[in-house]
Symmetry: C2
Subunit: 234 residues, 2 copies
DNA sequence: GTCTATAAGATGATAGAC
DNA sequence: GTCTATCATCTTATAGAC
């Protein structure tokens, strides 16, 4: 309503900050990083576009400009690192299978399979930790978790199970899938680093000690798979 | 603005439904049930008080009347069944320990420990399934999951670990805590019944087949605990 | 205890200037 | 590509009648 500028001014003065000069793709990535961080902490509905924009240091409208609707932004975050995870895991287990040949063990296979996500969480910077937490919550989500995880992660898991079959040719498929399900729960909970274990153990264990966690998980899962595939005692 | 009632009317007619006549505590429980259902599907921020009220068949204001702020409603939902779960689990493992004595096995102990949550999910009605899904998401939540799970569930877990120590007196505590952490991830993911396993296995396994799941989990975890506590190979 | 009504503010999304 | 400004709607929560 109030018109403070002179009526003759041909061009109203810009208010606010001048447009940022950013390298190509930098703005897009900074929005993805901010969204990844916030979604991983508060979930899809716990984050507003405004918060994402503020953390990314951009304007709200830019988020819509780059990604459209909020849900599309979430999907873009989820997909971005899924390919990296999976390509590296499949490559790692294939390499292990080729090197070990008939000497393949469950321990060796799981070590190869688990290393990429653990290493990214350990050394990939905060974005990878946020992503891990996001995957953990998605895996446990009863509404869209099953569908989302299956869509992006099943091909890599199927390859893992093929190789397990080579190690345990006598195993029934149904046993292997159930056993993998147990491993999946342990893996995503571990990568979420919730701090629950720290409290439970009175500080004896640290959620963030992922090297230790990976070693335990490899042994735990290998033994668990063997037991799941063994004939149950009558 | 528009005044349709006659100016002389001493008592404006009630609009909307007349107050419901409910038994004592019934309204409160129906609000908790509705909130439990919705929170388990969409998370804390994904649910509005209005939706809870609508699903419970009561007015929005009543939700505040009974529970105060939204967060208090969430806590009330979370606490309601935690005690049942935990009391029954502790009772079950204590009973098993008393009966089995020196013949205690990890399989027997885990069978006793896992039975209550699985049985409630199977036969306790939809509310228990919703609650299980809620626990799964809380366990994986990096913001308040660690603190919340520790607060309500750690005492029962500590008793479980005490009894495991009787079975494996040589085990190091740190090994037992990490091993339990693996079991925790498998357990809560399984109880969430996300349907992911159904897709991964092309229908060979069903997330809802909790009897099968419990049997696998018992064997998987028992073997996993033994492996986690064994000296790692150099 | 249950309702109506509303305060007070936040939200996703878009139009349009530059 | 980046911003300002705004719409239409929805949100939690409360006041107060009955």
């Amino acid at each position: 309503m109030a018109e403070n500028r002179t009526a003759s001014a041909p061009k109203p003065a810009r208010r606010g900050r001048p447009p940022k000069a950013r390298a190509n793709g930098e703005t897009r990535d900074s929005i993805l990083d901010a969204a990844e961080d916030l979604f991983s902490k508060h979930g899809f509905y716990g984050v507003t576009i405004r918060e994402v924009a503020r953390e990314a240091g951009v304007d709200t409208a830019l988020v819509h400009y780059y990604f459209g609707a909020k849900r599309d932004l979430f999907d873009a975050v989820f997909i971005r690192r899924a390919e990296v995870w999976n390509n590296e895991r499949v490559e790692a287990i294939n390499r292990y299978a080729a090197e070990a040949g008939d000497a393949m063990t469950l321990e060796g296979l799981f070590d190869a399979f688990l290393r990429p996500p653990f290493q990214w969480s350990l050394k990939g910077g905060p974005g990878w930790k946020h992503y891990s937490a996001l995957v953990a919550q998605t895996n446990a989500n009863p509404t869209f978790g099953g569908e989302t995880m299956a869509r992006y992660y099943d091909p890599a898991i199927r390859r893992l199970i093929e190789l397990i079959k080579q190690i345990m040719p006598e195993a029934r498929e149904v046993d292997l899938y159930w056993a993998y399900h147990m491993l999946s729960g342990a893996l995503t909970l571990t990568l979420a680093e919730t701090g629950r274990l720290d409290r439970l153990s009175n500080g004896l264990c640290r959620s963030g000690d992922l090297e230790t966690a990976q070693a335990y998980m490899t042994r735990f899962a290998a033994a668990g798979f063997r037991a799941a595939c063994a004939a149950p005692e009558a």
